[in-house]
Symmetry: C2
Subunit: 236 residues, 2 copies
């Protein structure tokens, strides 16, 4: 007798981490669904294109994809990712405060959409590529946050248990890059930049974290950059 099939909703932003999280879920042998949520961020169209390309790569049919929007987050404002009047900070990976790119409670919105979908279609796993160890210092990327969210799910799930899995939570970016390579994840299809939509800027927090990860892993980043604070991939 074979074990019952596990089905998982994977949050796929189009970035590096969520692509590796999807590859990880596939390696578990889980049947995959892909959820993408735009929230009025600057690079939304580019991220969505990356999401579609990654979902195509894993042959996830349209009936198992959900693409939604929480545009009210842009209306509420408060983040340089969604408010064009606020500049995106240049990388400062050593800063101790929460950066301007933080979107208040963003991951709670994303996970709650995943939970609603999970309950309606009868899925009991949600996978998110959140990273605590080497992140930008967002409070919704900590293990404590996911423990609290899973406690909420135990109380609020009406039709069977739903559990959020965070396979990358304790990894550093270099580990994630290595894991992505090992799993054959299509990292060339991913998009991480907070600023631009044609070539990654190379200088925002997200680009800087990604570039440092590839450098520490000793692997080449397959995407193109306009500039790099680490002196790699500088383009004319």
């Amino acid at each position: 007798m074979s074990a019952p099939e596990v089905e998982a909703i994977v949050l796929v932003s189009g970035g590096l981490d969520s692509c590796v999280a999807l590859a990880w879920a596939q390696r578990q042998g889980w049947r995959l669904r892909a959820l993408h949520v735009s929230y009025g961020q600057r690079t939304e169209a580019r991220e969505r294109a990356a999401y579609e390309a990654i979902a195509d790569y894993y042959q996830i049919p349209a009936s198992r994809r959900l693409c939604t929007s929480v545009q009210y987050l842009a209306r509420i404002g408060g983040s340089s990712l969604t408010d064009p009047s606020l500049p995106v900070e240049t990388a400062d990976l050593g800063r101790s405060s929460i950066p301007s790119t933080y979107v208040p409670f963003r991951n709670t919105h994303l996970l709650t959409i995943a939970a609603s979908w999970a309950e309606v279609v009868g899925v009991n796993r949600i996978v998110i590529g959140a990273v605590e160890a080497d992140s930008s210092g967002y409070p919704d990327c900590t293990r404590g946050y996911y423990d609290a969210f899973n406690t909420l799910l135990r109380v609020a799930a009406a039709r069977g248990p739903i559990q959020v899995e965070t396979p990358l939570i304790d990894m550093r970016k270099a580990d994630i890059v290595r894991l992505g390579y090992e799993l054959g994840a299509p990292l060339h299809l991913t998009w991480s930049c907070y600023k631009d939509t044609v070539r990654a800027c190379g200088v925002c927090d997200s680009c800087a974290l990604r570039l440092r990860g590839f450098a520490e892993a000793g692997l080449a980043d397959p995407i193109e950059y306009a500039a790099s604070p680490l002196g790699r991939n500088d383009s004319p």
Copy 2:
């Protein structure tokens, strides 16, 4: 010296409970903001009109109101409140299962929007008129649920504490009606029906709970009904 002013975001659906919760927050002396979230439900336009009328009554200016939509809940489906192909059940207040009107994780979506807004504008109270004692059996209307959500807020709030208040959680509907009368809440402006948009149907769960509440409180419901399972307010 006067105490520092407390400011609260009150979730105002347009129904009886949220109207009384708003009246309660006003009685605390708190500065009020009103949040209304539509989620693709059948009676959305009617509920929104009730919300606007109630916010007008309390003289909440437009700058302190936020009206948003989580239309993806209707796309995800699974509830007779948002899916026209599913019938709204006739009231059965004694049933033990979760009724078809349940929208998976609805209150988590609403509270997370309130939390994002609270963090951006620097508010530290959120008020919701959730009721456990005399409700339709939704898992997101229990004290345990709000305890878990407040735990999540303690972990996820990045710019100071945010606390959800549930002043009605242990009240029965009759107590809420009485409290509304005591506080001078504009109950004539509220809308509770799940089915209709001109005259309340009188037979859905929500109408049945409301009518029973007024009957037990010995007070007249100031809104009109098309029919009533309790034999009150029957119209030709």
